[in-house]
């Protein structure tokens, strides 16, 4: 009964969103404000409708209605209520409804804004949002219905349908459901999909405005100003989703890693790349009136990648850890992506002449040129990701044999680009808008520059053997040398603004070379991190001091006002700092991870990287009400003879899904993370248990960096009192630090 109600409401929601598309289109055509208003109200109605439908689904999930196929698949009696609720997005059918629900919430929020000055955008924003919503609702209503019941077809197969298909018999009510996959019961996995989906969904809004701007011909940067904050929030959610996914993998999957370059991970990463590029390049449009066409392309690509990403996780085209059973919705997703993309591109071509740049990009070292370089680097990473994902398909077509690429492939081909992006974060804040290189950075002393370039070349020639051993291959050597040379040239060109920071960074790198590592790749990485951190922190320091002197404020007031009045700039710098902290963590775990494994009897120990891990005890017990068997080992950790504490690696076995889950014992410090896995054990504990132990150096900076990252985005995205209506002159009164000394 409740299932029928939920399904019925979902159908109504679909009809309402279709109506809103039609009403908006006809309203524009007939210039009928009343019809457009009707379309807007229809769109507002979808959120309460889908909410009702979702409540019906939650009711079924919580109350063990196992006659409904989706409920049977994702819940079981032993699951606590909160998990039954979150099981809503634990399976395909439910998560599509979840997508639509979020989409409708965002669409409603948008339509509730003040439209006074932008009324002509409204119908087109409605059309784009409602078409997207109608597409997802159609998927739910026709193909992936979460309310469907199970029936036996005459052939004995189980089919899912709302009403009894002819000739079928009802599947007898199951006493218990299969239960949510235990791997999905981790808090990270409960929040990870909603965050990712929030990110996906909120990127629809800037896209809708971009399309509205194209259709109406209002191709100034109004649409960008309206959607700037939406984009930032979308970016925040998407980033949060990606980080949580990584954290979940680190805690749950028990392989000591956080990111496996799996096609589905990449599918979520690709819109992040275009979104990040978009965030940067809109600033060029706002400040310089350039790259308007490019911004359109970026927002269209992001939208296409968002839908494509949802599709990849949902279609099983690619073999992946996340790949779900293949489902009939694949071709429809592809069709929808293709159709919307073609229409968008056609609109763009139509308006192409209106989107010409207002000013010319002159200097290669101006801030806009560096932003453009940042964009090109992000796009390069995107292209590599895309090539990697389709590599098996293409290689099969071309050579006949299927060739796949794994993490080493992605790491090798993207890390030089990430290195350059890190370096850009160091120099871009020092550059100026529109500046011509002749004005500021002219006098290139050729012998000096030549001498500086000769140093790394000679060093490579002398230490050819150890360097090529570290790099592993000739291209690796060439690439690393190229990076060093580019960095040297650019640092030379920016020498006036950079030399103090460069000295600090060099000192840190030399110190690390003597005390921590001689690995050249790691040292290049640490140098770039140190350089960017010093430059950015120095920018904070300098601007605060300047404000302190100008306004006679104390340091903390000056600092908070500085950030508060230039939130976008300093929020951005906080994000850059956070990226550097994350880079420290990534360098640590990628370059210096150590592992050991072995079976040890009680009282014996394993040694790794200065740690001694002693096996103390093991206990195994059932918790019948939870349907889980726990096996927990106690190990004591010593370092240099000092007792540091006990860890409790576990293995949980879930009866309903007949699956076990390995929970590591972790000892996180800023220096490293000791990560102990219980692999196996003998019934009599004296015989011993098998452990696998990782030491992941510096990895916790990755998580610290992600926390700082969220703070940075929130600073940048925090709503101004009424930013859109402040005249430009008034805005300029607030202290604006100049970027050149």
């Amino acid at each position: 009964m409740v299932a029928d109600f939920g399904y019925g409401i979902l159908v109504v929601a679909l009809l309402v969103s279709l109506y809103s598309v039609v009403a908006a289109l006809v309203g524009v055509r007939t210039k009928s404000a009343a019809l457009v208003e009707s379309a807007r109200r229809a769109m507002l109605l979808t959120w309460p409708l889908i909410t009702l439908s979702a409540l019906a689904l939650i009711y079924l999930l919580v109350n063990n209605h196992f006659e409904v196929s989706f409920v049977y698949e994702v819940t079981s009696r032993s699951m606590p209520t909160y998990l039954k609720i979150t099981a809503w997005w634990g399976g395909q059918a439910g998560s599509l409804v979840f997508w639509s629900w979020l989409m409708s919430a965002f669409a409603s929020l948008v339509t509730l804004r003040k439209w006074d000055r932008d009324r002509e955008f409204l119908p087109w924003v409605i059309v784009v949002s409602s078409v997207t919503m109608a597409f997802f609702l159609t998927m739910s209503v026709v193909f992936e219905n979460p309310f469907a019941r199970m029936w036996f077809a005459p052939s004995g197969e189980v089919i899912k349908a709302m009403l009894q298909p002819a000739g079928s018999t009802a599947v007898p009510l199951q006493p218990d459901g299969r239960g949510l996959n235990p791997l999905l019961r981790h808090p990270g996995m409960i929040i990870h999909p909603p965050m990712l989906y929030l990110g996906f969904v909120s990127f629809v809004i800037p896209y809708a405005f971009a399309i509205a701007a194209l259709v109406t011909g209002r191709t100034d940067d109004r649409w960008i100003r309206i959607t700037r904050r939406w984009t930032l929030w979308a970016w925040l959610f998407l980033s949060f989703g990606l980080v949580l996914g990584g954290r979940w993998a680190y805690d749950v999957l028990g392989w000591g890693g956080y990111w496996g370059w799996d096609p589905v991970e990449i599918a979520a990463f690709m819109p992040w790349l275009t979104g990040t590029a978009f965030l940067h390049s809109v600033m060029i449009q706002e400040k310089r009136g350039q790259l308007k066409q490019w911004n359109m392309i970026l927002v269209m690509l992001t939208y296409a990648l968002v839908i494509f990403g949802t599709f990849l996780t949902r279609s099983g085209v690619l073999s992946s850890v996340h790949a779900f059973a293949s489902s009939p919705i694949g071709p429809f997703f592809m069709g929808f992506v293709a159709l919307t993309f073609i229409i968008s591109i056609a609109l763009l071509i139509w308006r192409w002449p209106d989107l010409r740049s207002e000013t010319e990009m002159k200097s290669m070292l101006s801030r806009e040129a560096l932003f453009l370089l940042n964009n090109l680097l992000f796009m390069s990473v995107l292209v590599i990701c895309f090539v990697g994902v389709i590599y098996p398909l293409v290689s099969e077509l071309v050579t006949g044999s299927k060739v796949t690429v794994g993490p080493p492939w992605y790491e090798f081909s993207t890390s030089p680009l990430f290195a350059m992006l890190m370096f850009l974060m160091a120099i871009a804040p020092l550059s100026s808008w529109g500046l011509s290189s002749q004005e500021k950075l002219a006098n290139i002393n050729k012998p000096v520059l030549g001498g500086l370039l000769a140093v790394p070349v000679i060093a490579y020639a002398i230490w050819w053997k150890p360097i090529s051993d570290i790099m592993g291959s000739l291209p690796g050597v060439v690439i690393s040398l190229a990076i060093i040379l580019i960095v040297v040239v650019l640092m030379y060109l920016f020498r006036k603004l950079l030399w103090q920071s460069a000295l600090v960074a060099s000192a840190i790198t030399i110190y690390l070379a003597f005390t921590y590592t001689q690995n050249l790749i790691a040292l290049i990485g640490f140098f770039l991190v140190a350089l960017t951190l010093t430059v950015t922190l120095r920018e904070f320091w300098r601007a605060t001091r300047a404000r302190q002197n100008a306004q006679q404020e104390n340091f903390f007031t000056a600092f908070s006002r500085l950030v508060g009045r230039n939130r976008r700039r300093y929020g951005g710098y906080v994000i850059h700092v956070s990226m550097m902290l994350m880079a420290i963590g990534i360098l640590g775990i990628e370059m210096f991870q150590k592992e050991t494994q072995g079976m040890i009897p009680v009282g014996q120990s394993l040694k790794i990287a200065g740690y001694t891990v002693e096996y103390k005890d093991l206990a195994s017990w059932d918790e019948a009400d939870k349907g889980v068997n726990y096996t927990r080992a106690v190990v004591s950790v010593y370092k240099d003879g000092t007792y540091l504490g006990d860890l409790h690696p576990r293995k949980d076995f879930y009866f309903d899904s007949q699956q076990s889950m390995t929970i590591p014992g972790q000892r996180p410090t800023l220096k490293d993370d000791l990560y102990v896995l219980l692999i196996d054990w003998q019934p009599a504990t004296a015989t011993g248990a098998t452990f696998k132990i990782y030491v992941n150096p510096l990895v916790n900076w990755l998580w610290i960096g992600s926390l700082l990252f969220f703070i940075g985005v929130i600073i940048a995205a925090w709503p101004d009192r009424d930013p859109e209506y402040v005249p430009a002159r008034a805005r300029n009164k607030a202290y604006q630090p100049s970027s050149a000394d």
Binding site: R178, V317, A325, K362, V403, P475, E595, G598, M599, Q659
Partner: protein, 160 residues
């Protein structure tokens, strides 16, 4: 508009990306093969980096906890998704592969923790190399356990 130097810059980046992709592909790509192909090609692929998918035969799973050595056999399953769909979906294909004794099989050795999802009729996607005895040494083991009605989120086990 003076675009020349920017175009040169763009071309330079494009060339760099192509260089990165090509040089990375030479060093780091893996041939995806089915068990059938592996058994017929035999010596020609020995020592190459391969990626193989197969259905795990439960009776053959052996685990030595002292050395963390896992051995098992996998039976051939089609490598192509469309083909798998045509034969009734992944779960059905895996089931048929395991109960059919005429399917070609290979023996696999893997060093590391025993993955939680390792069980009869799971799909194993393995990266590694063949040795001269026709035994596949997996460096990485990825498991999928589809059930008939619902996707499963598989576990990933990796070792370097």
């Amino acid at each position: 508009m003076k675009v020349n130097k920017f175009m040169i810059g763009g071309l330079f980046i494009l060339a760099a990306v192509v260089f990165l992709v090509v040089s990375s592909s030479q060093a780091n790509s893996e041939y995806f093969m089915t068990v059938d192909e592996l058994n017929t090609k035999g010596a020609s692929v020995m020592g190459k980096s391969l990626r193989v998918s197969g259905a795990i035969i439960g009776d053959t799973i052996q685990y030595d906890a002292a050395t963390l050595t896992l051995t098992f056999e996998v039976a051939n399953v089609p490598g192509d998704n469309a083909e798998i769909e045509a034969q009734g979906g992944l779960a059905e294909v895996l089931h048929q592969a395991v109960i059919d004794p005429t399917r070609s099989r290979i023996k696999v050795i893997y060093q590391g923790p025993k993955p939680d999802l390792l069980r009869n009729e799971a799909q194993a996607i393995m990266t590694g190399r063949m040795d001269e005895n026709g035994i596949f040494h997996a460096d990485e083991l990825l498991l999928k356990c589809p059930t008939r009605y619902e996707e499963a989120v598989p576990e990933q086990a990796a070792s370097k």
